[in-house]
Amino acid sequence: GAGVSQSPSNKVTEKGKDVELRCDPISGHTALYWYRQSLGQGLEFLIYFQGNSAPDKSGLPSDRFSAERTGGSVSTLTIQRTQQEDSAVYLCASSLWAGSYNEQFFGPGTRLTVL
């Protein structure tokens, strides 16, 4: 595609429910990143993929958070038993390869609201 796409753009859920957030990276990009942006904060790194592998999951805030990537393309971030503090904008980015020299291209984000 022309850019990184994310769905849904907005998600409102009740506390305790599970949610899935989807990211479609730019075609041909092998690296994919998930970030969380809370109100008034910078971006918080969550996890990245090189291909289908996630070498570092240390940014995931709790074991309620998980992510997978299939076919080296689409990625899904799953939050189980959502809490109000999970409310934030979740951003996905992709780059040709992982590493600082490679520009990360960002999607428009999914705004998650947990009631």
């Binding site: 904060q41 910078g42 990245y48 992982a98 020299y101 990360q104 960002f106 999607g107």
Partner: protein
């Protein structure tokens, strides 16, 4: 711990005036430095980056930034702002080529007065 500070939460400038947005980082060596812009309803876009070499770097949309090692700063500038520059600006650092994580400042919201 490494950190990035953008001391101004909001900045208001008149259209046509010059702009400087501040960014300071805390890291023992020279990091890789980035400025991103986030316009309403749009994704983050890279404005410019510094890896090495000339400390004054040019970016898109008429922006430039200067790396000052002695001040651990990487301030963003534009000689004359346009109403379309109203957005939120983020400074970010990476701690080396193999370090994929970007450490982000909290952002500066730029407001343009007509």
């Amino acid at each position: 711990a490494q950190s990035v500070t953008q001391p101004d939460i909001h900045i208001t400038v008149s259209e046509g005036a010059s702009l400087e947005l501040r960014c300071n980082y805390s890291y023992g060596a020279t990091p890789y430095l980035f400025w991103y812009v986030q316009s309403p309803g749009q994704g983050l876009q890279l404005l410019l980056k510094y890896f090495s070499g000339d400390t004054l770097v040019q970016g898109i949309k008429g922006f430039e930034a200067e790396f000052k090692r002695s001040q651990s700063s990487f301030n963003l500038r534009k000689p004359s702002v346009h109403w379309s520059d109203a957005a939120e600006y983020f400074c970010a650092v990476a701690l080396g080529d193999s370090n994929y994580q970007l450490i982000w400042g909290a952002g500066t919201k730029l407001i343009i007065k007509p």
